[in-house]
Symmetry: C2
Subunit: 246 residues, 2 copies
């Protein structure tokens, strides 16, 4: 009698052409075959190389575009270009979540404060001399130009988070900060007390230089609390003027 053996048969999983395109290109982007700024082959070239139709290629590329991995430029010298993989990729998703669950400004700011204070503490412990130098360059520049201060403010908070040496926390903090700036972009630097902010920034720098986590946390809290109060005040005023509810 014939013995029947049944090895574990995995069902054949059909792959669609457009999925093949997007998966393949995603793999190449994540693994570094294509880097930020690189141009992907044109649609026609991809058709020929991958052996699928132009519409399949286009659908695959749209998936990558929706995921924030590439951007499209029309025209001669145009094409598909690989985006820098950074916190922007989460910002969009986080934005969707918070919008649809209408999380408040308070919750967003609270989350930022908690995580950014931790990164400040960690920065005091883990910072390198290079980080410290970069911070000093920013803090030392006692500018009075609002635009320049805006940029410097962004950079300082960025490098403090970076100095924590934890990339996961770094990208989360970046995403939260970007989301706050984007959502409340009507708040200009006009309203900010630059003198106070510069002093705060210097205190943060000093604490991190002295490897003093408690002091770093305190200085960061003080900076963020000032922003929070200012933002709340401005948001309240706008609501009064409009007569709307948040």
């Amino acid at each position: 009698m014939i013995k029947k053996v049944k090895p574990p048969f995995k069902p054949f999983k059909k792959t669609y052409a457009h999925n093949y395109v997007s998966e393949l290109l995603k793999e190449y982007i994540v693994s570094g075959v294509y880097n930020a700024g690189d141009q992907l082959p044109s649609e026609i070239d991809l058709c020929q190389d991958l052996g699928v139709s132009r519409s399949a290629v286009r659908e695959g590329l749209r998936e990558l575009e929706g995921a924030g991995l590439i951007k499209t430029v029309q025209g001669s010298k145009g094409g598909r270009f690989v985006n820098k993989i950074n916190s922007d990729i989460i910002v969009h998703g986080l934005d969707l979540i918070l919008k649809s669950r209408n999380a408040s400004f308070e919750q967003l700011m609270e989350a930022r404060k908690i995580i950014e204070c931790v990164t400040a503490q960690m920065a005091a412990l883990n910072r390198t001399e290079e980080h410290l130098e970069a911070m000093l360059k920013i803090v030392d520049l006692r500018t009075k130009s609002k635009e320049e201060f805006y940029k410097k403010n962004y950079e300082l908070h960025e490098i403090v988070a970076l100095s924590s040496q934890n990339m996961v926390l770094f990208y989360i903090v970046q995403a939260l900060r970007k989301l706050i700036f984007r959502t409340y972009s009507f708040i200009t630097m006009e309203e900010i007390d630059i003198e106070r902010a510069i002093e705060c920034h210097y205190a943060i720098y000093k604490a991190i230089k002295n490897r003093d986590p408690e002091e770093a946390e305190k200085a960061m809290i003080s900076d963020l609390e000032a922003y929070r109060k200012l933002y709340l005040e401005i948001i309240r005023k706008r609501l009064e003027k409009k007569g709307n509810k948040l």
Copy 2:
């Protein structure tokens, strides 16, 4: 003489058909016109309603698919279905970032520990009676089934984060936990000391019930540290066997 006035002319920004489709549907999804599980109109219907070709509709839908907002099912009774908007939308992006910057397991686990401990503290202060009841139901069930414990473990950590009453932190913690489970899915519940874990969970519950933030943090740290050590041990063993580097 005629006075020339120049108001701020915003340049006309061309909208592509596929962008029109994706933006419109995204707006409807985020604002709740379509809810999780709902089926979008078929491609043909969208063509007619929006006055664009089928390929434009398909490209727009692929963008939404890439962003994680919808999923596609082929066949009769198939179509496009709206996904639940939850932490999954960030998980994918976070995964891409960490893969391409090869962040380590240590960093991922550290970030989770820090944020989840904060949510445990906040849970002790902000929990409602309903949250407490749900926790008790999970903690009380002294099962020995590994599968059931796995599920209960997930649920308890979820509801603790939810009790913090901060949705931003909740979704971030969820995303980090999902990413850890997904990336290290080769670690089965077989290896876990369920007795210890159940005791830990009970300690977390008790602290939150007693509105004791310090105790809640301590219990959460103890739980997560046990996981961390176990994971590291198993990862180390696998690397030895394979002779690979992480």
